[in-house]
Symmetry: C2
Subunit: 200 residues, 2 copies
């Protein structure tokens, strides 16, 4: 692309570094920005910088937070005796939006993946184990993805906690709500048969 | 979406104002930014602000430029006696990338569109007419889109310039290179028949 100005070119290059955004989309974004008032562009730039300067990770659960301890860990309305273990903070957002959970979280910031050279010491597992031992914990819910990495991580955590009295659970896996049996893959369907629950 | 922090929420809202970018994509972009080093995020923010502070429009052709007069208008290698009239500066980028054009441009910044209340006085037509009259101009190439608005604008400009000795041309319309006849719409095909050129 032959851009008429270095300023344009820099902006297009910067924006096309986002995943899934190519040069053409970046140019469309730049054109959109050029049509905005100066204040709007300034507030976008500020919001972007704030991400790095005003955000940190909660010392307890490693969720993103604006303070040392995140709002969920600080809240008196959350059940501190239940810890839901998730891969990253996006999973916290997903679980929070269900409105079905009132405990706390522990963000691993990754999953054990021997193939990628990620071991248990590379993610926030030791702080989880310390948290479970140091505080009165009733239940650890493993809300990890149904992949080899998720299963490996879940297995590792369960093994490490097997001598403690804490209850370890895993989110249920099976057919999606609204999902048709005929479209479910055989592994999911097999698992949902094995994991069947009594209803009557 | 329940975001765990106001800073995150602001950034997601700002980014989702881009056309075609929803909250989920904006969140993905924010997560990408959070993983970048502080300098990278700073340089993105700076590139965005520069768009408003360091870019202006060329006084001659209205193309985007970092100086009063754009690089094309300043260049001694471009033929100043040929002016290609385009709708916006993106069209300049498209034509420049063909490598087939060595003249100058005139960016109208819109097209005459009575239905949208845009008249000839709302776009850069008067400066084009002045340019053609004040300077020695051999040819005005109308490179406008093949729509009602493009045709209306082209007709208006041709009419205004009909008493001047300048040659007025229009980019050819017809079947795209590599296009199959059976997939061309009937209007394009009809026009390409009318606009046939002798080859032997």
């Amino acid at each position: 692309m032959n851009l008429p100005s270095k300023v344009l070119e820099t902006a297009v290059n910067e924006l096309s570094q986002f995943p899934g955004i190519g040069k053409k989309t970046a140019l469309r974004m730049v054109i959109h920005l050029m049509k905005q008032p100066e204040e709007a562009v300034g507030s976008l730039a500020k919001a972007i910088i704030n991400l790095k300067t005003n955000l940190q990770f909660c010392v307890t659960c490693h969720n993103v937070s604006e303070t040392d301890e995140c709002d969920i860990c600080k809240s008196v309305n959350r059940n501190k005796r239940v810890i839901c273990v998730v891969k990253d903070f996006q999973d916290c957002i997903s679980i929070e939006s269900t409105g079905q959970y009132n405990g706390t979280y522990h963000v691993l910031n990754g999953l054990v993946s021997p193939l990628d050279g990620i071991g248990p010491e590379d993610i926030n597992i030791s702080s989880l184990l310390r948290r479970v031992i140091d505080n009165e914990t009733d239940e650890v819910i493993l809300a990890l993805s149904a992949t080899m990495e998720g299963d490996t991580t879940a297995f590792y955590i369960s093994k490490k906690l097997k001598d403690s009295p804490v209850k370890i659970t895993q989110i249920s896996r099976g057919i999606s709500i609204g999902g048709e049996l005929e479209f479910a893959d055989e592994i999911t369907l097999g698992r949902s048969l094995i994991g069947r629950v009594q209803v009557g």
